[in-house]
Symmetry: C5
Subunit: 95 residues, 5 copies
Amino acid sequence: MIAGKVVGSLVSTRKSEKLIGNKFMIVEPLRHMQADTRQIIAIDNIGAGIGEYVIVAQGSAARIGCDMEEAPVDAAIVGIIDDGGILEKDDAGME
Amino acid sequence: MIAGKVVGSLVSTRKSEKLIGNKFMIVEPLRHMQADTRQIIAIDNIGAGIGEYVIVAQGSAARIGCDMEEAPVDAAIVGIIDDGGILEKDDAGME
Amino acid sequence: MIAGKVVGSLVSTRKSEKLIGNKFMIVEPLRHMQADTRQIIAIDNIGAGIGEYVIVAQGSAARIGCDMEEAPVDAAIVGIIDDGGILEKDDAGME
Amino acid sequence: MIAGKVVGSLVSTRKSEKLIGNKFMIVEPLRHMQADTRQIIAIDNIGAGIGEYVIVAQGSAARIGCDMEEAPVDAAIVGIIDDGGILEKDDAGME
Amino acid sequence: MIAGKVVGSLVSTRKSEKLIGNKFMIVEPLRHMQADTRQIIAIDNIGAGIGEYVIVAQGSAARIGCDMEEAPVDAAIVGIIDDGGILEKDDAGME
């Protein structure tokens, strides 16, 4: 998984029927996290708000682990990090 | 998922039988989105036109979530972004 | 999927039994396509020749979409691009 | 798989129900290992401590291979490397 | 798949039960192959020796194609390349 910050959301009116009712959040991975710090669009089932630090699961884990087995989803917010702000300051990891 | 712009399409006459009837769209991820801004070839089930901003799902999500479980497809356009042009201007995400 | 050019092939005498009878083609992704322009080794079920421009599917799509569900294959040529040479000249996509 | 060093852990109180009881470890891949040396968040089923060198499996292997088939997990620590410190010194691999 | 050279092996005494009996080989992808030339840890079912040039399958192909469906494995050596040394000299592919 990667850790990132929710920086926005997307609206898509014309979309796959299986995506109706889902929120598309824009997550920016932390600089020292995998994935080139490029942003990811992730489904949110946890209720993360903009500015919160989250854990994002990618690949089939997003579909299967979030009970959306049949949906075209490859990334999902699966947890909100406690004290996530610390992560951004500390570039080498934290305990 | 990633957000990108449809910049063209591809024609393939000799192809896997399971791909017959599908359109191959060339999608250029937005600069601040994951995937090195390199272009992706994605199947389109939504009816996206060239110049539109779209959401692309990758991996098994493209096959399974688009009811093409048996097709050799690893990327699919799953939504068209409302006001996608704003995304290109705003490099840090948007609400 | 990505678009690339077949630049060669590989011979492997000692290999997984499930790969017997398959051809290993070396595909070089086009410069503006995803995957860092590094070469990929892909199974060919379409009959692509060296120098041809092809569409390559990666991940589980290669196995499942090419009826090789039980084979250790993560990339397959799934289509030959008509007029592929144009792709190499045009860096921004084409219609 | 990749080899890396456990550099910390994350706490997430609000998370997917399927993740309850799991530890999120922050793993930093070794410099000469795949994945851009960016950190990964991996579930730990082996009991790795901070500072230990570990093997991390990614993708569906993490879920299925760790008996968490239904959990939104895309990376898991699957082994602790004996004499892992040697790996960090030797940049070209070791026997 | 990617082509690489076996440069070493890893020992892991504390590991997932499902990995017992497997060898962890360190494979360095060829410079012009996908994956940033960073090293990968791959299971070996073919009997590759250090210094040999091999084909590595990644993702679910490694598990399913190597009859290790339940193991936390995301990369496997699936073939040994005949005359692999030529690959290292020739940067543009070969026939």
